[in-house]
Amino acid sequence: MLKLKGISKNFKDRPVLRNLNLTIEPGTVYGLLGPNGAGKTTTINIICNLLKPDRGEVLIADQPPNHQTKALIGVAPQQNLLYQTLTCRENLAFFGRLYGLQGKGLHQRIEECLALIDLSDRVNSPAETLSGGMQRRLSMAIALIHQPKLVILDEPTAGLDIEARYQVWEVIRHLQRSGTTILITTHLLDEVERLCDKIGILQQGKLIAEGSLPQLRRLIQAQEIVTIQAQDQQAIIDRGKALGLVSRRYGADLSFWIPELLDLKQILEYFEGIPIDGISRHPVSLEHIYLEVMGYI
C-alpha cells in the first residue's frame, strides 16, 4: 500500500529524515514511534505530498504522490482542525463534497461515519459544543469520509482522557477489522502495543528498529524483567553480574533481564543473603524495547 524508498529530507542544513525505507502492506496497522523531532510528521507531510523529499521515492498504491493519490489517503492530523460553528453533519458534508461525494452517496457515507464514531446522536451539534474526545472522533470521521485506502492518524489520542482514548482505539480496531491500512504516529507506547501489527522506531530521522512486537521482543534477550527494591543496591548489582544477568535502570528501578521463565522461589534464590524490600516481575514490553533501541539507558 505504501512504500518509502531511501527518503532523505533536510531543513536547511539539518537532516530530518535520513535514508528512510518503510513498507506498509495492505490491511496492516503500522505504528511509527519516535520522540518529538524524530521525523514522524515530516514523514506524513511527504506521504501526503505536502513536502517533497530531497532524495528517495514514495509510492502510494504503486503511484508517486500526486493530485489523484490525495483521494487514496485520509489524514486525521494532530490538532482536530474542524470548522467549529458547523455541525458534525456539515463538517462531514463539506469534506465529503471536496472529495467529489454528493447526493444520496454522501448522505449515506455521513451516516456510516457518524455511526462508526458513535456520534449519530450529535449529528446536528456544532463542533464547538463537542468534548475533546468527540472532536477527535469527528476529525477521524472526516479522514474516513471518502473511504481512503490508507488512513494516517497523527497522535490520535494525544491529550485525551482514558475513556476518550478507549473510544478512539475502538474506532481504530473497527477499521483494522475492516481491512483498512493504517499508519499511526505516536509516542504512546501502550497504544502501539495494543493496536499495531508492525512497529517502526524513528530516531533522528533514521528507522532504527522495525518489526512486529514478537520480532522486536527478540532484541531483548529475556523472558521477563524483574525489578528489585533493596537498600544495598550495589550488592544486588554485583550478584546479578556474578549470575550473568543483564541489569538495567528503568527510571529509578533496578531491573534484571531474566533469560528464562522461573518461578518466584528460584528468582529469590538468586539474591539469597541480600535483604530485599520488594520484587516485581514484568513481561518484556515495548517500553523496554524502545528504551533499549533508543539508547536511553
Partner: protein, 252 residues
C-alpha cells in the same frame, strides 16, 4: 469541483453566526440612510436625487468593501489561525477552486447587500437609468478586485483576526473617505481631488455612479479601464500571494 462546497461552507458559517448576518445587512442600510440624509440636508437635492447619489457610493464603500475585502481577509485569516487550511491542503481542493469559492460566497453577500441598498433607494424614489448588464459587470469586477486584495492582505499581512481590524482601520477607512464613499468626491478640495485619482475606491465609485446615472461613456470610460486593470492586478496579486502562503504553510 471544490468551488461550490467552499462557498456553501462560508455562507453556512455566516448563517450559524446569525448576529453577523444581521449586521452585514444592517450596516449598508445605515450608511445609505446617513449618506442620503447628509446629501439631502446639505445640498439642494430632492430626497429621490439624494438617494440616487448616495446609492453607488454606499454599495462600493459600505457594502462591497467591507463584505468582500474585509470578509475575504477574515475568511483567509480565520482559516490560517484555526489551521483548518491545513486540512484543505490534504484534500484535492485546488487553489483556484478555493479562490473562486471565496469569491462566490462574498459575491452572494455583496449582491445581497446591493439588492437591499437598491430596494431602499427605490423606495425613496431614486431612479437608475444606466445599463443593467454594465452595472452588474462593474459590481462583479469590484467584488473580484476586493476579494483579490483580501487574499493579498489575508495571506501576506494579517496573521490574526485582530490584525484585520487594524488593517481596515488604518488603510480601509482613509481609502473610503478619499474615495468619496462617505462624502462625495465632488465636494473635495482640489488637493484631495488630485490625491483621489490614485485611489482605486474613487474610480470604482465614479464608474458605478456614472453608469447608474447614464453619464456619457467619455466621462467614465477611463474609470472603467482603471477598474478592469485594478481587478486583474488584484486577482493576480491575490493568486501569487496565495501560492507564496502555500509554500510557507504547506505542512501539518
Amino acid at each position: 469541483m471544490g468551488m461550490i462546497p467552499v462557498a456553501q461552507r462560508i455562507l453556512l458559517e455566516l448563517v450559524h453566526r446569525r448576529r453577523s448576518l444581521v449586521l452585514w445587512s444592517v450596516f449598508p442600510v445605515f450608511i445609505l440612510l446617513l449618506n442620503a440624509t447628509i446629501l439631502e440636508g446639505r445640498t439642494q437635492l430632492s430626497r429621490a436625487e439624494a438617494y440616487q447619489l448616495a446609492t453607488p457610493i454606499t454599495i462600493v464603500g459600505a457594502a462591497l468593501f467591507f463584505s468582500c475585502l474585509g470578509g475575504s481577509v477574515c475568511t483567509v485569516v480565520a482559516e490560517r489561525e484555526q489551521q483548518t487550511i491545513k486540512r484543505l491542503f490534504l484534500s484535492p481542493l485546488g487553489g483556484l477552486s478555493y479562490f473562486l469559492g471565496i469569491f462566490l460566497a462574498h459575491s452572494v453577500i455583496g449582491i445581497g447587500q446591493t439588492l437591499v441598498v437598491f430596494a431602499i433607494a427605490l423606495f425613496f424614489g431614486a431612479e437608475f437609468k444606466g445599463s443593467v448588464p454594465l452595472i452588474m459587470l462593474i459590481i462583479a469586477l469590484s467584488i473580484l478586485a476586493y476579494v483579490g486584495a483580501g487574499f493579498i492582505l489575508g495571506t501576506q499581512i494579517a496573521k490574526r483576526t485582530e490584525d484585520v481590524n487594524a488593517l481596515i482601520a488604518t488603510f480601509g477607512v482613509p481609502l473610503l473617505l478619499l474615495g468619496g464613499s462617505f462624502i462625495p468626491a465632488s465636494l473635495f478640495p482640489q488637493s484631495l481631488k488630485d490625491l483621489a485619482i490614485w485611489n482605486p475606491v474613487f474610480h470604482i465609485n465614479e464608474v458605478l455612479a456614472g453608469v447608474m446615472n447614464s453619464t456619457p461613456w467619455e466621462e467614465v470610460g477611463h474609470h472603467f479601464t482603471f477598474l478592469v486593470f485594478f481587478s486583474l492586478t488584484m486577482v493576480s496579486g491575490g493568486w501569487l500571494s496565495y501560492r507564496a502562503m502555500l509554500e510557507r504553510e504547506r505542512n501539518l
